[in-house]
Amino acid sequence: MSANSAYNFAYLDEQTKRMIRRAILKAIAIPGYQVPFASREMPMPYGWGTGGVQVTAAVLGANDVLKVIDQGADDTTNAVSIRKFFEKTAGVATTTRTRDATIIQTRHRIPEAQLSEEQILVYQVPIPEPLRFLEPREPETRRMHALEDYGLMHVKLYEDIARHGHIATTYAYPVKVDGRYVMDPSPTPKFDNPKMDDCPALQLFGAGREKRIYALPPYTCVVSLDFEDHPFERTPIAAKCELCGADSAFLDEIVTDDQGGRMFVCSDTDYCESRRGEASP
């Protein structure tokens, strides 16, 4: 499919893309640091991935193959419309297969398949500031990052244990990047946290409404915060996928009727389909 010539390649004008690329380069140079950027209005509402879309537009080339997932699925509204958006404005090839993609834009999941050095993972981030709900003042949180003043982050985990007996944070679980910056991994389930560590793919995070970009260069050390006597634990998966039988993948619980019927299926649709040997060609 060819690009609609009414648009510049990938919708954004070249100067904007250069501005975003500069922010991305800075973000890669300082892993985990939130770089401010002049976020643009996009033809979709805030909260629908305007940050991720701008990052994708800035790194997208004519030969890239784009995959977009929403909670692991390729076929949900958000994923379908963003994929269509780039088909229309950039004319790039799209795919649902993780291993064929060069750029994967994601909302809150990391694919189950191992990523490679040739791939870029772009996260849509609603709230980039991990300290936001503990310290509402933005100048103060920036100062805390600058001074590596992160005691407060552990207060949150302490509260979890005091209240629930274990660290009950299950998504947006804070991580420390390269021994320096504390980062919000966007609201991915903490199940995915270990996949960020030492990942061969470049990981970029875009927050459109909050106007921040941050990044994890390939093979960056990413450690989930914890206590010595309450170490980080990946969410245990207690069930099997009822479609493909996977027992170690992140599952969605789907209500099937109004009689209390429910089934567990892989949240990563491509992973599930390829396991069932019916991945679309």
Partner: protein, 270 residues
């Protein structure tokens, strides 16, 4: 050269003041916050700053605790390593470290000193986590020990301070400050707004920490009875200046300045 030497030389013994302020002034445009205040605080010494509202007491406290920059003057502090340093030459990270380890600040309004959405245990543990404690069990045990010391029942440990009474909040604030064994605590009307019996418990607590831990304190109060009960020395402020200072008993029993005489004579006699 001599100035440099005196700045770097480790000072030993208790003869050297813990905190020394010279010629502190603070102007808010044409208004005077406080003017030309000098003061020394020695280890284990409690100093009361008294005066009417607007006399510059709280401004002085904010300056001393480095929460505001003075318009002129300097403050130096003898750190735990025995070296006396100019506080305004510390880096921001050093200053913050000092504020949450060696120093404490008890606000009149507990909401300023506590995190109201975080449990009592979390409030006390925050300072420990900020200085690198990463063992939940140990943090909790230490927090519990301090809550017991300020007479907060263990079963309230996981309750948030917004469910506490005013006196409990104030005692929690004291515990939160004491957990890192500070050597100097600043208090701004620590018992303001509390009823008399509750006041007495908070005052007892402060007094016992002063005697048990050799804590030094600068207490701002408008209540001369509290000044008499807690402090060794007293500073009387008026219109931003210190008009009289000396031993508490001496100043209160035999005030020299007419204004101090007025203050002392204004106490309701029972």
């Amino acid at each position: 050269m001599t100035a440099l030497l005196s700045e770097c030389r480790p000072l030993v013994g208790n003869d050297q003041p813990l905190l020394q302020a010279t010629g502190l002034s603070k102007f808010f445009g044409p208004r005077v916050g406080c003017q030309d205040v000098s003061l020394e605080v020695h280890e284990g010494e409690v100093i009361a700053v008294v005066g009417e509202s607007g006399s510059g007491k709280s401004t002085l406290l904010l300056l001393l605790s480095t929460q505001q920059l003075p318009s002129s003057g300097s403050i130096s502090c003898r750190m735990r390593d025995g070296v006396t340093r100019d506080l305004f030459r510390l880096t921001e990270a050093e200053r913050r470290h000092l504020l949450r380890t060696d120093w404490g600040f008890v606000h009149q309004d507990a909401r300023l000193g506590l995190r109201m959405g975080v449990s009592a245990g979390g409030n006390v543990g925050e300072r420990l986590m900020a200085v690198g404690w990463r063992h939940y069990g140990k943090i909790r045990a230490e927090a519990q020990a301090w809550l017991e010391r300020v007479e907060i029942a263990t079963d309230r440990m996981d309750d948030r301070p917004d469910t506490f009474s005013g006196g409990m909040r104030q005692r929690l604030q004291v515990a939160k400050n004491m957990v890192t064994h500070p050597r100097l605590v600043f208090m701004d009307e620590p018992t303001g707004g509390l009823d008399v019996s509750v006041q007495a418990r908070v005052l007892d607590l402060i007094r016992s920490f002063v005697s048990d831990y050799g804590l030094a304190a600068v207490i701002v109060t408008h209540d001369l009875a509290i000044a008499r009960l807690l402090s060794h020395r007293i500073l009387v402020m008026r219109q931003g200046r210190v008009i009289e200072n000396g031993l508490t008993d001496q100043v209160l029993d035999d005030p020299r300045e007419p204004y101090t005489q007025l203050l002392v004579s204004s106490i309701l006699q029972t």
